[in-house]
Amino acid sequence: MAQTQLAILFTSAALVVIGLYSAIFIDNIIKKIIGISFIEEGANLFIVAIGYKPGGVVPILMPGMDTSWFATNAAYPLPFGLVLTSIVIGASTLAVMLALVMVLYRRYGTLSTSVMLADTSKQEEYDE
């Protein structure tokens, strides 16, 4: 079923585009972080789709399976291993970002990006 793979590509592209859109246009910082995490999910989904084989089997060699049949029918397991790492990295990045947001909220009292993360170079330049 090649159309499954095509649909997955569209889904991951849609996730990336949603993420990029939210990066520019959403003002609330938590929502912006949620949106950005969708980019990572889109990339993961794309890499899993590379390893997927339509009509194949899970790449685990069960006892009693014919080896050559398995080699031609199993999905490609290398991308799955990569995605495993990348999911964990994405989660830890998200956690660090949210922790920084919590600290900054105490200082500013708002979640608006245009207030919290505005230009700081001018204010500190010359304070009497």
Partner: protein, 111 residues
């Protein structure tokens, strides 16, 4: 005399660049250096187009020189566009991504 007045106005406008706070002559001379440096280096970089087409290089260089010189002071404009706010940084990052991907996807084989 017109150009002289224009340059004099440029120096006056540098005052805003360093506000709040005093403007020392070292800062102003640095800004004027930056102004001249940016014009010359951009025009020089445009000359690199001659490896693609000589005519294009001449045209782009002339247009760039006229546009840049008639728009001085450039440095305050450059600095406003490259300040530390996240919105501007994200905007330029995404725009660059779009340009790179578009350029490579459709023009990658032409170069």
């Amino acid at each position: 005399m017109k150009l002289y007045d224009q340059i004099f106005n440029v120096v006056k406008q540098f005052k805003k660049l360093f506000s709040p706070g005093p403007v020392t002559n070292a800062d102003v001379s640095g800004s004027i250096t930056a102004e001249i440096f940016i014009i010359v280096s951009l025009v020089l970089a445009a000359l690199l187009l001659r490896h693609v087409s000589v005519l294009l290089a001449g045209l782009v260089t002339l247009i760039l020189a006229v546009v840049l010189i008639s728009n001085i002071p450039l440095i305050p404009k450059f600095k406003i566009e490259q300040e530390d706010s996240l919105e501007k940084m994200l905007f330029y990052a995404v725009i660059t991504l779009a340009i790179i991907v578009t350029f490579i996807y459709w023009g990658g084989n032409l170069v």
